[in-house]
């Protein structure tokens, strides 16, 4: 212990004077702490700024595949010298588990310095290469073989399986000339892009033999039906050992046959299940919460997770009838890796509400088969409330209305009673032919008849002027004769004769329908001839009239006035009587 203290004091003094940056270090490093069975890791032990003897480390159950390799380097930076001695081991594990690489020690200038232990974890193997297929392949051909490996052998219908096609070769020089991919019956397959086929870094030990390994292809398989689904072997042909001097030789080989046990989905599928199998989440959302009528709103239904996403179909959309919608736009963000198919698939709907109001979209549901739980699950999202405000073009400016359907007749029934006045009439009695009807017809007819008769009589009377004159002749004549009689009694000559002339002339004119101008003997004779004794009367009348006229204007009176008057009265009476 004293020696160590002495040394440290000495070193501290040395550093303090000239080389204070020259610290001694001893480190152990691995390139990764987690790896798979068959893979190798690199363990590096670095001794800095010292010359010493590095001891063999305890690798704790791991196998040293290669090494140790020793290297050293010296650097001068800003006049300072530093040196590193590195010892490298390649380690591998034959069985999975947790391993501890123990501390390594180095003797430096009489003392020892040690590293810290490192813990590493060993997996079953990233490619999940089963020992069985490796062993089978190796048995077929020790130098060159191909394997098909499945990530899972027992799956549900629709669940994804990763199939890996791997080439193992011990030939130092190999050219792949041709390979036949197996036909896949009962599967829907998706290629996983793994880039260019290259040899993997490092070698792999299989049952003590070391191989170079290349993954030829990776596929995602989705069983489409239940049962044992067989994958036929992969056949390859290669040319080996070709060189400048050698044309090489052709080697053919084929892989193992694998079988996928596809289990049917248990139980009855819920409504809306469209075949999605995996582990999924579901979300529905709209781009806006408020929109104007006749403006578009975007509804996105997103399915996210790890499943056969490319087979996911749009969930059923239940929307109010006056919301127009179009077929959805599909937005896929799907990646296919060795872990399987994952990502999201979104269905983007364009909705156009045609009327204002508060709308509720959804809830939207999506059903899938949850592999982890081994049961169906139905996810629901929403409902989404959207407020639609009146549009600029008027709320009713619908371009396309919801499709109309015919009114369905559910049942038939008789029509209802008549409302209002029943228009009741006495039973069994008819107006036509009744007394009232006869009266109704008869009364106007009688009225018409009476009117006609009255009309006829009055018309006849007004038409017969001569008759009227004749009827009135005596009455007028008598009136005038009375005037004459008055004049006679007063003994007035002139008025007596005037009245007599007027009375006689008027009487004859009226009695025989004559004008005053026609009053001469011949006309009077003609008119009176028809009656018996008419001629005598006519002559007497004319003579009387002439006598009256003579006496009126002549100075002499031939006959007494009283005689003339009596004769005139007598004459009129006789004519009236005849």
């Amino acid at each position: 212990m004293n020696r160590v203290a002495y040394l440290l004091t000495f070193l501290a003094a040395l550093c303090g004077t000239s080389l204070h940056a020259q610290e001694i270090a001893f480190e152990a490093k691995v390139d990764r702490t987690a790896f798979a069975v068959g893979e190798s890791i690199r363990l590096s032990l670095s001794l800095t700024n010292a010359q010493g003897n590095i001891g063999h480390p305890d690798v704790g159950g791991l196998t040293v595949v290669q090494g140790p390799f020793e290297s050293s380097s010296i650097n001068f930076i800003n006049g300072q010298r530093s040196s590193v001695i590195t010892r490298t081991y390649m380690l591998t594990a034959t069985a999975p588990g947790d391993y501890t690489i123990g501390a390594a020690t180095a003797r430096v200038a009489g003392g020892t310095i040690s590293t810290k232990p490192i813990k590493v974890h060993v997996d079953k193997g990233g490619g999940a290469t089963s020992d069985r297929s490796l062993n089978e392949g190796q048995k077929r051909d020790r130098d060159l073989f191909v394997t098909i490996d499945l990530s899972k052998e027992k799956v549900y219908v629709g669940e994804q399986v990763v199939a890996t096609y791997t080439l193992y070769s011990r030939y130092p020089n190999l050219e792949l000339s041709d390979y036949d991919l197996p036909a896949l019956n009962g599967f829907w397959a998706e290629e996983i892009d793994i880039g260019e086929t290259n040899w993997q870094e490092g070698l792999r030990t299989v049952n003590g033999l070391q191989y170079r390994v290349a993954v030829l292809k990776k596929q995602l398989l989705f069983p489409q039906r239940s049962g044992a689904l067989k994958i036929e072997p992969l056949r390859i042909s290669c040319i080996v050992n070709r060189s400048f001097f050698n044309r090489g030789s052709k080697v053919e080989t084929q892989s193992n046959t694998v079988t996928v046990q596809a289990l049917p989905l248990p139980g009855a599928a819920p409504q809306g299940f469209s075949g999605a199998v995996g582990d999924l989440r579901f979300e529905a959302r709209t781009d806006r919460q408020s929109v104007k009528a006749n403006e578009a709103i975007e509804l996105t239904l997103t399915v996210t997770g790890s499943a056969n996403l490319k087979l996911v179909e749009a969930p059923e959309l239940e929307l109010p009838p006056d919301v127009e919608h179009y077929d959805p736009k599909l937005i896929d963000r799907i990646s296919m890796t060795g872990a399987g198919m994952s990502g999201s698939r979104a269905f983007q709907y364009l909705l156009i509400p045609r009327h204002e109001g508060d709308f509720s979209f959804g809830p939207f549901t999506f059903s899938f088969f949850d592999v982890a739980q081994g049961a169906y699950r139905t996810l629901s999202s929403g409902p989404i409330q959207v407020k639609v405000e009146p549009g600029t073009g008027g709320g009713q400016a619908s371009i396309a209305r919801p499709s109309k359907t015919d009114v369905q007749v559910l049942d038939q029934d008789i029509r209802f009673l008549r409302t209002g006045d029943a228009q009741l009439r006495p039973k069994g009695r008819y107006l036509f032919g009744s007394l009232a009807y006869v009266l109704g017809i008869g009364t106007p007819a009688l009225g018409l008849l009476l009117f006609g008769m009255w009309r006829r009589r009055s018309a006849a009377r007004s038409a017969d002027v001569d008759g009227t004159r004749r009827r009135k002749a005596e009455r007028i004549a008598r009136k005038r004769m009375k005037e004459a009689h008055n004049a006679l009694e007063r003994n007035e000559r002139e008025p007596f004769y005037a009245a007599m002339t007027k009375a006689l002339q008027g009487y004859f004119a009226d009695r025989f329908a004559l004008g005053v101008a026609e009053m001469d003997e011949s006309t009077l004779l003609e008119r009176m001839a028809s009656s018996p004794g008419g001629e005598v009367l006519a002559k007497e009348a004319t003579a009387l009239i002439a006598a009256c006229e003579m006496a009126r204007f002549a100075p002499l009176e031939e006959r007494p006035r009283q005689q003339l008057y009596d004769q005139a009265v007598d004459l009129i009476q006789r004519i009236e009587r005849s």
Binding site: D413, R415, Q423, L424, K427, G440, I441
Partner: protein, 252 residues
């Protein structure tokens, strides 16, 4: 319900005891309508029937028919619908109900094709009731007389025009009288009848036990040709003839 029964008995006593006057008939009609609306079809039928003893109209016959229909007596419903149709030819509601009732009868008689000018012509010719054309003829006749009188009081051209109008009116009057006579005869001498017995044999002679020609079922409409000692000679719409007991029928 109790007040209903009271009113019903009141109305029935009114209807049977004495001749029902117009006001009483209107009250009964209103009661019957209320009962029908409330689904008490039997009550409504009794009330309508009491009105129907004295009064008649297409609306009343339709109501009685509806009651029978609701009480599942389809043949009587058809009878009353036919009566309503006779009073008001071409009435749309009656025709619809009759069509529906006919669908429930057993017999399907193919009617001989008949010349028809359509419902509106039928309605126009038939009028809303039997007396309509008689009333119209009276009005037209009065118009004719008035026009004639006016024309006689006018002179020259105006008189000629008035007389022409009067002549036209007279022609219309004659047509109306003709139609009124036709309609009255049609209703008074209605020859149709409805079979009311569930099934009846139509025989070749008016005698029980003679050859059965065909069978008829309730609700079928027949035309009466002759009546003889309780037997009727009936003709079907398709022209078949036969005899059946008068008791199995009821005249429209």
């Amino acid at each position: 319900m109790r007040s209903y029964l009271f009113l019903l008995t009141l109305a029935l006593s009114l209807g049977t005891a004495s001749a029902m006057d117009r006001a009483g008939a209107d009250v009964s009609m209103e009661l019957a309508r209320t009962a029908y609306t409330n689904g008490e079809h039997a009550t409504a039928l009794a009330l309508f029937d009491s009105v129907g003893q004295e009064w008649n109209s297409a609306a009343l016959q339709l109501a009685i028919g509806n009651c029978h229909f609701k009480l599942n007596d389809v043949p009587r419903a058809i009878l009353h619908y036919e009566r309503a149709l006779l009073l008001e030819p071409g009435a749309e509601d009656v025709k619809a109900n009759l069509e529906l009732a006919r669908q429930r009868t057993v017999d399907r008689v193919n009617e001989l094709p008949r010349f028809s000018l359509g419902s509106s012509w039928e309605r126009w010719i038939g009028g809303s009731d039997v007396d309509q054309w008689a009333r119209r003829s009276l009005w037209l006749w009065s118009l004719t007389v008035v026009l004639c009188v006016i024309a006689l009081l006018l002179r020259r051209t105006l008189r000629i025009a008035g007389l022409s109008l009067s002549g036209l009116s007279l022609a219309a009057t004659l047509v109306a009288v003709f139609l009124a006579a036709g309609r009255t005869a049609q209703v008074r001498d209605a020859a149709g009848a409805i079979v009311l017995q569930p099934r009846i044999e139509v025989t070749s002679e008016p005698r029980a036990g003679s050859t059965t020609l065909f069978m008829l079922h309730a609700g079928t409409k027949v035309e009466l040709r002759k009546t003889e000692a309780g037997w009727c000679e009936v003709a079907l719409a398709n022209g078949n003839l036969g005899w059946m007991p008068a008791s199995a029928l009821e005249r429209i």
